[in-house]
C-alpha cells in the first residue's frame, strides 16, 4: 500500500504538534486521507515527544510502526537517534543540529553523547542536519524552528509546496504569518 509515513520527534515545547498539524492539513488540502497522532499529556514538561502523520488514499491505523517511516523529522539530535529506528531501510532523516539537554544530563545523571552526529550518520545514510535555530532567528523568531523543519522536508513530500504555504498562512496568527513563511522557505533552502 502506498502510505507515506512521517514521524516527527522533538522535545516538549518545541512546537512538534503544530508542525504535525501543518503537514496533516496540507495532505487533506491535497485531497488525500490522513491520520495524525501524537502522544501528549506530560509532553510540555520537557519530555521527549513523538508524533505521526500518515498520508495516503485510505489510511487506517494512526500509528507508524518502527521500521516503516519514509521520513523522520527531528527537532533535536538526541531525539533523532532515539527514533531513528522508525525509518524504513532507505528512509530519510532531517534533523535540527541544535541540542537541548535532557533533565538527566542537566542534573548530571547522564552525559550528552558528544558524537551524536556521527552516530546519526552511522544509523542513517540519508541524514541531513540543519541549524534550524539560526534560520528561525534570521526569520525573526526563535520559536519558528518548527516551520523551518517543515520547510526542510517540504519538497520531499507527496504534497505541493504551495499547499503547505497556504496552510502555514491559515494556521498562523496574523502577525506571525511573515515570520513563519520566511522560516518555512529558509528551511526549504537549507
Amino acid at each position: 500500500m502506498d502510505i507515506f509515513n512521517i514521524v516527527i520527534a522533538g522535545v516538549g515545547g518545541q512546537g512538534v504538534l503544530l508542525a504535525s498539524k501543518v503537514l496533516a492539513e496540507s495532505a487533506l488540502a491535497s485531497g488525500m486521507d490522513v491520520k495524525q497522532n501524537e502522544v501528549h499529556g506530560m509532553a510540555q514538561r520537557g519530555g521527549s515527544v513523538i508524533s505521526f502523520v500518515r498520508i495516503g488514499k485510505e489510511v487506517f491505523s494512526p500509528v507508524v510502526i518502527p521500521g516503516t517511516a519514509d521520513i523522520l523529522i527531528s527537532f533535536e539530535p538526541l531525539e533523532a537517534l532515539r527514533y531513528v529506528h522508525y525509518l524504513k531501510p532507505g528512509g530519510m532523516l532531517v534533523y535540527n543540529k541544535v541540542t537541548i539537554n535532557p533533565s538527566t544530563v542537566a542534573s548530571g545523571l547522564a552525559t550528552y553523547p558528544a558524537d551524536v552526529e556521527d552516530q546519526i550518520a552511522k544509523a542513517c545514510p540519508d541524514a541531513h542536519g540543519i541549524d534550524a535555530l539560526s534560520i528561525a532567528r534570521a526569520a525573526g523568531n526563535d520559536k519558528a524552528v518548527n516551520m523551518v523543519m517543515v520547510g526542510a522536508v517540504m519538497k520531499k513530500l507527496p504534497i505541493n509546496a504551495g499547499v503547505v504555504e497556504g496552510v502555514v498562512r491559515s494556521v498562523s496568527k496574523e502577525k506571525g504569518i511573515d515570520v513563519n513563511l520566511k522560516a518555512l522557505n529558509g528551511g526549504a533552502a537549507a
Binding site: V11, V39, V63, H85, A110
Partner: protein, 586 residues
C-alpha cells in the same frame, strides 16, 4: 464540510450537534480536550466538576431534569464515579446520558492500564467503542438514541489513539436540543431496596433486549473478505487489523457490550481461523469462548499489556516476523521534569535533602519521585497522599517510631478527594505533615480551572475557595503559608511541621508559571566563582548544564538564558555564591 479533528473534538462537536444540553467532567489525559472543546464551541453549557463522581452525578441530574447530558473522564475517573454508575444503571435515564471514558493502553500518561469495557459488563449497560474520529462523532448521536430508547446510561469508550488521533470528520445535520419534562417518579429514581429489587429485574431484561439490538444494529458490521482468516475486533484495534490484513474477513464491533452472540456464531462458522484482536483485557475472548465458539488466535498471542499494532497482529497470526527495528540502546533518557521556574522544584529540593518519607499524590509534583530528587515514596491514586500518610502515622505510633510522614498534594487533587482524607486526619487524631501545593490550576493535565483558581471552565470569574480557611474548618489548627521558592524558609517550615505533634498543614500559593505565563529575570553564573561542584544540578533543571572543561579543571555550570525562568533554586543551592540571585523573589 470535512475537517481533520481528534476523537475528543469530534465527541464535543457531535454533542452540540446532537441535542446536548449539559456536560460535566474532570480533566484526565486523554479525555480532557473533550470538555474544553465543548466550551470553546460555546454552544452547550458545560463545567468542570471537582471530581468525576460529582461530574457524573450532575449529568444524572441534568438527565432527570430532561436535558441530554454528557460526563467525561479518563479511565481511572470511572473508579471514582463508579458508585453513581452502578446505581444509575438501575434508575435509567430521562433524557439521554453518555459517560465518555478515555482509556490509556500503553499508559502514555496514566498510573494504570485498566480496561473500561469491564465497567460496561459490570454495570450491564451498553458501551460504544469508536474506531476513528468520524465514528466518535457518529456514536455520540447513536449513544443518545440508545440511551433514550432503552432507558439506560451509555458508555462511550475511547483510547488514547482515538481521543488524540486526528482524522477526517463530516458533520451531520444539527439536532436542536429539546428539553423534556422534569418528572417525579419515586420507584424509578429512589433506589430503596424494594424499588431496587424491581429495577434489577428490569436491568437483566434490558440487557437481553440490548443483545437483540446488537444482533441487528449497523454499529456491528461484517466485512466479508477472504475467508481463511476471520477477525473480531473493535476500536482502534480495527484500524490495526485493516492495516495488517486489508483483505481479511472482519466482524467490527461498534457496540462492544452486550455482544451479538448469533452474529458472532455465524461469522465464526464462515471463516477458517478465528482471531480476536482486542487491546488490554480478554473481554471479547472470554465471552466468545463461553459461548462455546472456538477461538484460534487470541490473548495467547496478543499481549494483555500495552497497545496493539499491525506488526503484533501479523506476528500473532503467524504470517510474519516483526518488522520493527530495535531502538538504539543506552541513550540518555529524556523524562518529563518540573518546568524551569516551577515552585515544586524548591519544595522537592528540600524534601530530598531532609530524606523524609513522602506520601505522594498525582500531579506535576509526582515528578519529584524521579532522580535526582527521588523524594516521593508512594503514589497510588488521586487523594491518597493524605489518607495514606494518616495510616502510616498510625502504624508508626503503634510501632513506637517517631518519624512523621509528609503528604504532598496539589490544589486540584485536594479538592478532588484530598479534603476527606484531611478531615479524617483531624477527626482521628492523626499525625502527619501535609503540604498543599496550590498553584491555582490543574497543572499536569494542561492547566484547567478548578474551584481554587477563581475561574470556571469558560474562563469567567467564579467563586474562589480559600484553602487555608477550608483546612481550618476541617479541624486542622496548624495551617501555615509557605513560599517554596525560598529554600531556607521552606526547610525551617517543614522542620517545624515535623516537630509539632499532630496534623500540620503548609500551603504554598505560588501560581503555576506555565499556566499563568510568568517570566522571571534569568540567572547568570560567575565562572570565576563556579567550582564545578555540581550542587546546583540537584535542582534537576533543564536550563542548567556543564560547559566544556578546561584542561585539569572541572567543567563549570552554564545557564541557558532561553530556558531559565529565574526561580532562584540553583542560586540557593550554590555554596560559592557563583550564581546571581533572581530579582523579585527570595
Amino acid at each position: 464540510m470535512k475537517k481533520i479533528i481528534s476523537g475528543n473534538e469530534a465527541i464535543a462537536l457531535s454533542f452540540g450537534d446532537s441535542g446536548g444540553v449539559f456536560a460535566s467532567g474532570y480533566p484526565g489525559t486523554p479525555s480532557t480536550e473533550t470538555l474544553e472543546e465543548v466550551a470553546r464551541l460555546g454552544e452547550v453549557y458545560c463545567e468542570w466538576a471537582p471530581n468525576e463522581k460529582v461530574g457524573l452525578e450532575s449529568a444524572i441530574g441534568a438527565s432527570i431534569a430532561g436535558g441530554r447530558a454528557l460526563a467525561t473522564m479518563k479511565h481511572v475517573g470511572v473508579n471514582v464515579a463508579a458508585d453513581a454508575l452502578l446505581t444509575l444503571n438501575y434508575t435509567g435515564v430521562n433524557a439521554g446520558l453518555i459517560l465518555m471514558v478515555a482509556d490509556d493502553p500503553g499508559m502514555h500518561s496514566s498510573q494504570n492500564e485498566q480496561d473500561s469495557r469491564n465497567y460496561a459488563k459490570f454495570a450491564k449497560i451498553p458501551m460504544l467503542d469508536p474506531a476513528n474520529s468520524q465514528e466518535a462523532y457518529d456514536f455520540v448521536r447513536d449513544g443518545f438514541e440508545i440511551s433514550e430508547q432503552f432507558d439506560t446510561p451509555v458508555m462511550l469508550r475511547t483510547t488514547t489513539r482515538i481521543s488524540h488521533a486526528k482524522g477526517v470528520v463530516e458533520q451531520k445535520e444539527k439536532i436542536e436540543p429539546k428539553i423534556g419534562p422534569w418528572v417525579k417518579d419515586v420507584p424509578k429514581y429512589v433506589m430503596l431496596p424494594n424499588y431496587g429489587k424491581i429495577k434489577h429485574v428490569e436491568v437483566e431484561a434490558r440487557l437481553l433486549k440490548l443483545q437483540e439490538f446488537a444482533e441487528t444494529t449497523p454499529l456491528n458490521r461484517v466485512e466479508m473478505g477472504e475467508r481463511s482468516l476471520g477477525i473480531i475486533t473493535s476500536g482502534v484495534a480495527y484500524q490495526h487489523v485493516r492495516e495488517a490484513y486489508p483483505n481479511a474477513s472482519v466482524l467490527k464491533l461498534g457496540l462492544v457490550h452486550p455482544l451479538p452472540e448469533r452474529k458472532i456464531r455465524e461469522f465464526a462458522s464462515l471463516v477458517g481461523r478465528l482471531m480476536i484482536v482486542e487491546e488490554l483485557d480478554a473481554i471479547f475472548e472470554e465471552q466468545i469462548r463461553a459461548m462455546g465458539i472456538r477461538v484460534d488466535i487470541g490473548k495467547d498471542k496478543i499481549p494483555l499489556c500495552g497497545e496493539v499494532n499491525a506488526d503484533i497482529i501479523r506476528v500473532a497470526a503467524g504470517d510474519a516476523i516483526a518488522l520493527g527495528s530495535a531502538p538504539i540502546a543506552a541513550l540518555p533518557q529524556r523524562p518529563p521534569i518540573f518546568c524551569p521556574g516551577c515552585a515544586h522544584r524548591g519544595l522537592f529540593s528540600i524534601l530530598s535533602k531532609l530524606k523524609v518519607f513522602v506520601s505522594g499524590d498525582i500531579g506535576c509534583y509526582t515528578l519529584g519521585a524521579l532522580p535526582p530528587m527521588s523524594a516521593m515514596h508512594s503514589t497510588i491514586c488521586m487523594g491518597a497522599s493524605i489518607s495514606a500518610a494518616h495510616g502510616m502515622a498510625k502504624v508508626n505510633e503503634i510501632a513506637g517510631r517517631s518519624e512523621k510522614p509528609v503528604a504532598v498534594i496539589g490544589d486540584s487533587t485536594f479538592f478532588h478527594s484530598g479534603m476527606t482524607g484531611l478531615l479524617s486526619m483531624a477527626y482521628n487524631n492523626g499525625n502527619a505533615l501535609v503540604i498543599i501545593m496550590d498553584n491555582r490550576t490543574t497543572g499536569m493535565t494542561g492547566g484547567q480551572e478548578n474551584p481554587g483558581s477563581g475561574r470556571v471552565l469558560q474562563g469567567q470569574p467564579a467563586r474562589q475557595v480559600d484553602i487555608v480557611a477550608l483546612v481550618k474548618v476541617l479541624g486542622i489548627e496548624n495551617v501555615v503559608e509557605l513560599n517554596a521558592y525560598n529554600l531556607a524558609e521552606t526547610e525551617a517550615a517543614i522542620k517545624k511541621g515535623l516537630e509539632t505533634p499532630g496534623p500540620y498543614v503548609l500551603v504554598d500559593k505560588n501560581p503555576c508559571i506555565l499556566r499563568y505565563r510568568i517570566k522571571q529575570p534569568v540567572i547568570a553564573v560567575d565562572p570565576e566563582k563556579c567550582t564545578g561542584c555540581r550542587a546546583c544540578l540537584k535542582a534537576a533543571c533543564v536550563a542548567l548544564g556543564l560547559g566544556a572543561a578546561a584542561a585539569g579543571e572541572r567543567a563549570k555550570v552554564q545557564v541557558d538564558p532561553n530556558i531559565c525562568n529565574g526561580c532562584g533554586v540553583c542560586v540557593q543551592l550554590c555554596k560559592f555564591d557563583a550564581m546571581s540571585e533572581a530579582k523579585g523573589r527570595g
